[in-house]
Amino acid sequence: MKGLRGLAWLLVFQSIGEVLSRGFSLPLPGPVLGLILLVPALRFALVREPVAECANFLLSHLSLLFIPVGVGVMTHLALLSQYGGRMLVVIALSTWIGLAVTALVLYWPDRKAP
């Protein structure tokens, strides 16, 4: 029941986000605006307790949610094989650059810490 109420809250915040995003043609997508609005609302136990339960469930199965889009790779096989090699190299290199820069910026001041 709590989890269901949590899902209802998440959907309400996402809907508000969608309305604001489309209504004012803001650069932020609806779910992102929903996230920004949700954070301050979490100080209220009425929102926090159900949302915590639902969020823990959803986020622990986050990888499942990417499978439908991932299977969509098969519809782009023609485009992927046209640029395949180059495209994969670009994606891999830029991912490693992003990972390395982020990790080093955060880790550098702590590198000597035990």
């Binding site: 969020a55 949610l65 098969m74 994606i91 891999a92 991912t95 820069v101």
Partner: protein, 241 residues
Amino acid sequence: MPHFVQLWVYLSASPLFGLTATLVVYLLAQAAYVRLGHAPWANPVLWSIVTIATGLTLTKVDYPTYFAGAQFIHFLLGPAVVALGWPLWQRRVELRARFGRVLLAATLGGAAACGSAVALGWSVGLPHDVVMSLAPKSVTAPVAMGIAEKIGGIPALSAVFAVLTGLIGALSGKYLFDALRIRTTDAGWRARGFALGTAAHGIGAARALQVNADAGAYAGLALGLQVVLAALLLPLVFRLF
């Protein structure tokens, strides 16, 4: 066996099929991943995608038919993005204390991932709309699609790039961090998780969550921050060109 064939034609065309296949294959892949001690190469997202795509090709079921069922799972990405507010709120005290550094790491890391993708894409001669679909690839798929639409990319392609990026990060992150001598101390785990959430979004964050609790929390935090930063900054930056 005409009866069986008819039954298969009915089942494979109903939304029930896509939904069931996605859940069952994922649960099996997840069980195998746990059994193999969370080895990076056994990533359940990768193997679920490969299994389902192969199965669809062999049984000649097209993607829209599959997606008619799988969309119920896909739909949950929206509420999941909103739900990222929860790990952010949980770490609010810690976040306030380290806010400058965390924000700096998220901004520089996100800019490095996006900038290098666009620069490399141009230098190897990829077409403009493909390069624009590469730009938001380190943001979680549904948001990446929205951004690509705004800056002149192809939404479906940017979702594919986002998934590939997440998989590469989840598969190779450990080796990269070891090579960079980021140790497995508390600070090291925070940096590893945060980097995965920044450059390899939800798929990287899911990997971090499975390996270490601190890494997982920071990955969730990075994911949320990256979504906000990229959605705000990318359309602004690309409007200037």
